[in-house]
């Protein structure tokens, strides 16, 4: 989306050092800020959760101290557009590409359950369950870009008007 074309209701732009202790503050800020203008308060919680998971990933996979994490949240009438950027290695970007491809190839619930199962066998904190969670809980479309300077940008497009996840099929 070209931000200049959107009739933005919300615009958030944050940059911070990749310290884990900042995440909860950012999550709380995002939830409170969005809740001001969103009738569906639970949706604000879901978007804040999504931002939280994407920032956690950005910090886990950052490869350089002192490089900023950047997040941008824009909304129009239909969607929230969340972009999270961090510096990473070519190998980590390839891994992200593979995981996103796997997650996006399945229905959201199936992908989330698969990642839940796989997470038990994961020996570190990089189980990628968070991406599948974001896709399922927020009904987001997730993709990424990687530039020549080593910055990976993860984009999540979260629809506003689909209410919460329907559990009818569960």
């Amino acid at each position: 989306m070209d931000p200049s074309e959107a009739k933005n209701k919300i615009f958030i732009d944050l940059r911070f050092d990749h310290k884990w202790t900042y995440i909860s503050t950012v999550r709380t800020f995002v939830e409170n800020f969005i809740a001001i203008s969103l009738e569906n308060k639970k949706k604000a919680g879901i978007i804040a959760m999504s931002v939280n998971e994407l920032i956690e990933n950005a910090i886990k996979y950052s490869d350089k101290e002192g490089i900023q994490i950047k997040i941008q949240i824009i909304s129009n009438e239909k969607n929230f557009y969340v972009n999270v950027s961090n510096h990473t290695t070519d190998n980590e970007e390839k891994n992200l590409k593979k995981i996103l491809s796997e997650i996006n190839s399945l229905p959201p619930l199936e992908a989330y359950m698969n990642r839940m199962k796989l997470s038990v066998d994961s020996l570190n904190d990089k189980s990628a369950i968070g991406l599948a969670r974001v896709r399922y809980e927020s009904r987001a479309e997730i993709n990424h870009t990687y530039d020549d300077e080593g910055f990976v940008n993860v984009h999540a497009v979260i629809p506003i008007d689909n209410e919460e996840v329907s559990n009818e099929h569960i």
């Binding site: 884990w20 995440i23 909860s24 999550r27 639970k42 949706k43 919680g45 879901i46 959760m49 939280n52 998971e53 956690e56 886990k60 619930l109 989330y112 359950m113 839940m116 199962k117 997470s119 038990v120 994961s122 904190d125 189980s127 369950i129 968070g130 969670r133 399922y136 809980e137 919460e164 996840v165 559990n167 569960i170």
Partner: protein, 128 residues
Amino acid sequence: MNTFNIEQLHFENADASLENDKDGLTLVISGDIDMRDTSVEFLPYLLKVHDALILNKIKEIRLNLLNLTFMNSNGIKSVINWIMKSSELPEENQYKIRIIPNTDIAWQDSTLPVLRKLFPDFIIIEQA
């Protein structure tokens, strides 16, 4: 305090305590589970509860999440690890987890049913 002498745990932005009440044994988790590595304190606490349940042949525990406002995916991973421990036991030693949710909290409303689908024989979700 509870009959198993498992003390209340405060870790970062969350609290966990095991309580004997009129409905039996209840694990109360509140606050925000948002630490980077939940295997340091949170998972060991869950596994301590697991060991107490096995030792005392308890068949059901209530999990009170009414004031658990956030849980990151690492926290979910720890909960899955806990449930797996019960599912891997011989049937006569297994126990069920009866979750008391707060459906006003978005993540609980969406993720808890997925956990139940993943472990239908071990998770019960109380209706509000």
